[in-house]
């Protein structure tokens, strides 16, 4: 059953496109999506996911939503702390780089999230529409906690005002949060009119996007060799730990199987867009060769291909425990 689910995930068009991107890099092809297309697709994904989440939220009731939100907030603080501590145990990285890693693994990956939704749909497992709200919530605190942890290793103080402003007004947050509000206001009547674009084309667009992600991740692969065993172990093992935590929190706060799995995937995933941008500006002393290699070169492909079905298995196990 697990193998079957994993196979369905691995043979879906988006995941295969990701593999095609890896292959294109391996054979040294000049294939690359135009920068403007890549940016356009990511605007589409962020806004579309936001809108759909908002529409779902407009139909959910507050009671149902508040516990999961609180749980997610807690995860947003606990996961980066845990990551910081684990990295300290199994690598020799300094405080700054540990904090940078904590920021990345404390935040989330929109694409992994989207792939998880498509996977659940292909398995006919339902999930709460408002999980997008959880995505938006989990995006930010991890970065802040990570920066906070790193700043203890800095000779200088961090310019918190500017850093927070840059994170909160960054493109991805404005699109995601803006989309949520837009969807909340326009509701399902308004959404109907834009469904052909934001709904119907979603999996197709994600397929194109993952092609480019495969290329980007493939270019990172050579760095993995230099990364050191500790970092590789962390990038593969930590998602399982954090992901299981997410599933459990989801289950405890009242999410169904699907919702818990999504929260697990969110917790397992590492950011490679919002976090790197914030860390690069606020924490230039941290090495992109460490944090991008981990999040984009290892954790992202791992989650996409293995992490998602594993989280489902974990979800089913936890459900079986029946607390």
């Amino acid at each position: 059953m697990f193998l079957e689910a994993a196979l369905i995930n691995a043979t879906s068009a988006p995941v295969l496109a990701f593999v095609l991107g890896l292959v294109a890099v391996a054979v040294k092809s000049d294939l690359r999506l135009p920068e403007a297309l890549y940016q356009s697709l990511s605007i589409y994904l962020l806004l579309g996911i936001g809108i759909k989440g908002g529409v779902a939220l407009s139909e959910a009731d507050v009671a149902e939503v508040s516990l999961p939100i609180l749980g997610t907030l807690a995860l947003g603080i606990i996961i980066p702390l845990l990551a910081f501590w684990v990295v300290g145990k199994i690598t020799k990285l300094d405080t700054i780089n540990r904090g940078a890693l904590a920021a990345h693994f404390g935040s989330t990956s929109l694409v992994t999230f989207s792939a998880a939704l498509i996977f659940l749909e292909s398995q006919q497992i339902e999930y709460e529409g408002f999980v997008t709200t959880l995505l938006a919530i989990l995006e930010i605190p991890g970065i802040v906690v990570g920066l906070l942890l790193a700043s203890r290793g800095l000779g200088r103080g961090l310019d918190w005002g500017e850093s927070l402003k840059e994170i909160l007004t960054s493109k991805s947050i404005v699109l995601l949060a803006g989309g949520l509000v837009l969807g909340l206001i326009t509701g399902s009547t308004g959404y109907e009119k834009v469904q052909p674009l934001f709904g119907g084309l979603f999996t197709g667009v994600l397929t194109l996007f993952l092609l480019e992600m495969g290329i980007v991740a493939g270019r990172r692969l050579p760095d993995v060799k230099q990364a050191g065993l500790g970092l590789v172990a962390f990038s593969l093992g930590f998602p399982l730990v954090a992901g299981t935590l997410g599933v459990v929190v989801g289950s405890l706060t009242g999410l169904g199987l699907g919702g818990s799995v999504v929260l697990g995937v969110l917790s397992a995933s590492a950011s490679y867009i919002a976090a790197p941008a914030a860390v690069r500006l606020a924490l230039p002393e941290a090495s992109p060769g460490v944090y991008l290699t981990a999040s984009l070169g290892i954790t992202f492909p791992f989650n996409l291909i293995f992490g998602i079905p594993i989280m489902l298995a974990v979800g089913q196990f936890v459900e079986g425990l029946g607390f």
Binding site: R220, D223, R280, P284, P288
Partner: protein, 99 residues
């Protein structure tokens, strides 16, 4: 035609730095700048695999004093941490009070 001598400073750096670089350069007295999208490689890039994503090339025509201030700022705030190149040449301009 009355030509005046000025300096042209060319800075190539990570695109994420755009707004910071502009703010700093204008604060130091430049009266204008021109930016083009670019990509490239340098000695640092090859060493530690910096962020993917493009560079920007900023060109600033200005007087020698401002050049010195800009170069000073780059040396303290940018060169140590970021992928960033800079070179300077002589140019002639018309309408000297604009530069």
């Amino acid at each position: 035609m009355k030509f005046t001598t000025r300096k042209l400073v060319t800075i190539v750096g990570e695109a994420a730095l755009e707004s910071r670089l502009i703010r700093d350069v204008m604060a130091l007295g430049a009266k204008g700048y021109t930016i083009t999208d670019a990509h490239g490689t340098g000695p640092r890039n090859q060493r530690n695999g910096d962020l993917e994503g493009g560079n920007i090339k900023i060109e600033i025509v200005t007087d020698p004093e401002t050049v010195d201030k800009i170069v000073e700022k780059l040396s303290t705030d940018y060169f140590p941490h970021y992928a960033c190149s800079c070179w300077i040449s002589d140019v002639e301009v018309l309408r000297e009070d604009r530069y």
